[in-house]
């Protein structure tokens, strides 16, 4: 009697595992997403309403941290810098697109060589990017000196030392780093365009630049949209390159929100302030994520 019972139990147990194997496989990721991502985000948001400093303090203080943020000129400067940086990063997309078009147009032998060269900066850490470009921008020993030696005695390339120009230096380094990536995306978009559309344009006698303007670029709208999203995410996440290149300076001229927040957590040891900054950042990202599909929808509606 007991024999059979054991056997049935074993069979039942096996079928439970196998029946629910898929769910079990999914559970860890599910749990992590809920707990570590959403839970953490919610925790941070809650913390932003407290007076926590080095240690969490759960006393509710309303919007005090946010008003501190608003009063902190460094924070508003960081938001401003974020805007400048996001706009400047578009240069990566523009350059990437231009390179993709040139490569597509030329059918040059050694196309692979060029792609390899344009893309290698992606393989390298942003710390290294920041370091090398900081070195290039070195006033006495870098590019500025190089151009001065060539005769342009008043050439000023010391952007890293200038509070108002440092963001441009960071933008330049960032474009160098990511233009190759956007070239790859645009090349993929260009290759997806039907050869016969090009042939039709040759029969119709449409000049090339017109084709790009009126047909090709609109056809690549998905690629561009994806690129915008990725560029914005990249701008929001930018931290490493600031640390390596400028450490936020001079005078906060290159501080970005992510840098400010990490700095608040680690150096200024002010959890609530960091949490408040993070929440604002989250709102910016959320607003962006909501705006993108809406823009996409509006564009699509125009199509039909």
């Amino acid at each position: 009697m007991s024999h059979t019972r054991v056997r049935i139990h074993k069979a039942e147990r096996q079928s439970f595992l196998s029946k629910h194997a898929a769910t079990l496989a999914v559970l860890p990721v599910f749990g992590i997403a809920l707990f570590f991502y959403f839970g953490s985000a919610i925790w941070s948001i809650v913390m932003s309403f407290t007076a926590s400093k080095f240690f969490p303090d759960y006393a509710f203080v309303g919007l005090r941290q946010y008003s501190r943020l608003a009063d902190d000129s460094l924070w508003s400067l960081s938001l401003q810098n974020l805007g400048v940086f996001a706009l400047g990063s578009l240069g990566s997309l523009v350059l990437g697109f231009v390179l993709a078009v040139l490569l597509d147009e030329s059918k040059v032998r050694g196309e692979g060589f060029f792609r390899t060269v344009y893309l290698y900066p992606m393989a390298v850490s942003l710390i290294i990017t920041g370091l090398v470009w900081q070195w290039l921008f070195n006033p006495g020993l870098g590019l500025q000196q190089f151009f001065r030696d060539l005769g342009l005695t008043d050439f000023d390339f010391n952007w890293v030392g200038d509070k108002h120009k440092v963001m441009y230096a960071v933008i330049l380094a960032s474009i160098w780093q990511s233009a190759g990536f956007y070239m790859v995306l645009c090349s993929a978009g260009l290759k997806g365009i039907d050869a016969e559309v090009w042939q039709a344009s040759r029969i119709d006698g449409i000049p090339k630049y017109r084709m790009y303007l009126e047909v090709i670029i609109p056809m690549m709208s998905f690629t561009f949209l994806t690129s915008f999203v990725l560029l914005s995410i990249g701008a929001v996440k930018a931290y490493d390159i600031i640390v390596a290149m400028t450490n936020g300076g001079p005078g906060g001229g290159s501080t970005l929100p992510a840098y400010y927040i990490v700095d608040a957590y680690i150096n200024r040891r002010n959890i609530a302030l960091g949490a408040a900054g993070s929440t604002v950042l989250l709102l910016i990202v959320a607003a962006f994520l909501i705006a993108m599909p809406l823009i996409n929808l509006a564009l699509n509606r125009r199509k039909s």
Partner: protein
């Protein structure tokens, strides 16, 4: 003066793939010339060369009397309709048709009038503000044709335009294209692999095989008097039956098959003198088989398979050791069933005789 003239055209691809070999062709003004052939025969390549989308390695192309061999596609006075329509996806039908005219700096009024006229002609007037993605296959094809016609070119090229449509639409659009040709009276050069399309649309057909012209002739001529076995096999559905044999000149001209079956060729129009013992291939179309009338000579065949098609019946028979297909009236088969003997007579005056070695018509 021919509208389109191709002289000794040579096209070679990477390395040594000689795709077109010394082709010469003249297309008269107002003709509907179809380039017909199987995949890879070079018909699309020839069309693309005429269009200027491909460079040629040798020869000359003239359109309207001008030498356009090195001219840009847009300067050859041609328009083209593509297999995949190639409409500009982000533009409306109106925009697609107007694009080329805008580049030529025509006035707004002219463009508007031209576009609407052409749209009316193709019955897509109410689709002008839609984008290609929202149109059906047939509508897209009309839009593509519209974009080509709006240019008022003297020569219009078609590259397998109906291949992507389903059977019913294909028939509709075929009639549409024929109607357009009648109305516009311009020169059409049309590429297809479908012999039905070719036969129904063309004023002349150029059958291509391996980069060369196999025969250039009217549809009737190609059907009734194919110049070689390739054309004979390609045109006609069900295809022509072939019987291999030898010529015997003993009592009148006869073709004798290996199994002894004899075919009396005295009514056949020979183009050259028949030779005794010449190895030949006799081609008989399915509809040239009949039930014997009175005392006419007939052959005993074994009826194997019957395929009733409604208006006619396809009979797969064994004529001696050769399998043939005969197309008969349903009433002709009264009293005969499969696996029984079926007596058939053959209208040998309408047959085609080819030299077995060269494949050329005798």
């Amino acid at each position: 003066m021919a509208q389109v003239a191709v002289q000794h055209l040579d096209k070679v691809y990477q390395g040594n793939t000689h795709v077109l070999k010394d082709l010469s062709l003249e297309v008269a003004s107002g003709e509907f010339l179809v380039l017909l052939g199987p995949s890879g025969c070079g018909k699309s390549t020839l069309l693309n060369c005429i269009a200027g989308l491909l460079d040629v390695e040798g020869g000359r192309i003239e359109i309207g009397g001008r030498d356009v061999t090195n001219a840009d596609p847009s300067e050859r006075g041609i328009a083209m309709v593509f297999q995949t329509y190639a409409l500009y996806p982000t533009k409306t039908v109106y925009g697609n048709m107007a694009f080329c005219l805008r580049m030529k700096r025509k006035s707004r009024e002219y463009i508007d009038q031209k576009v609407r006229e052409t749209a009316e002609l193709l019955q897509i007037g109410d689709l002008l503000h839609r984008r290609p993605a929202t149109l059906s296959g047939g509508q897209r094809q009309r839009a593509a044709i519209g974009r080509a016609l709006v240019r008022d070119a003297e020569v219009c090229l078609f590259d397998e335009p109906l291949s992507n449509l389903d059977a019913k639409l294909r028939t509709e659009m075929r009639i549409e294209i024929k109607r357009l040709h009648k109305r516009l009276k311009s020169t059409f050069i049309y590429v297809t692999h479908d012999q039905v399309e070719a036969m129904t649309l063309a004023t002349r057909i150029a059958v291509m095989d391996g980069g060369k012209f196999s025969q250039i002739s009217t549809p009737e001529e190609l059907y009734d008097r194919p110049a070689n076995t390739f054309v004979a096999r390609f045109i006609g559905s069900p295809p022509m039956n072939f019987v291999e044999g030898r010529l015997s000149l003993r009592s009148g001209v006869r073709a004798v098959a290996a199994d002894g079956t004899e075919f009396d060729l005295s009514a056949y129009g020979f183009a050259s003198r028949p030779q005794e013992g010449q190895e030949v291939v006799l081609g008989i179309r399915p509809e040239h088989f009949h039930r014997p009338v009175e005392a006419a000579p007939s052959y005993a065949t074994m009826l194997n398979i019957v395929e009733p098609l409604g208006s006619n019946v396809l009979c797969y028979c064994s004529l001696g050791k050769t399998e043939v297909v005969a197309s008969l009236n349903p009433s002709d088969l009264e009293g005969v069933r499969a696996d029984e003997e079926l007596r058939l007579s053959i209208d040998l005056a309408k047959a085609s005789l080819f030299d077995r070695a060269t494949g050329l018509r005798l």
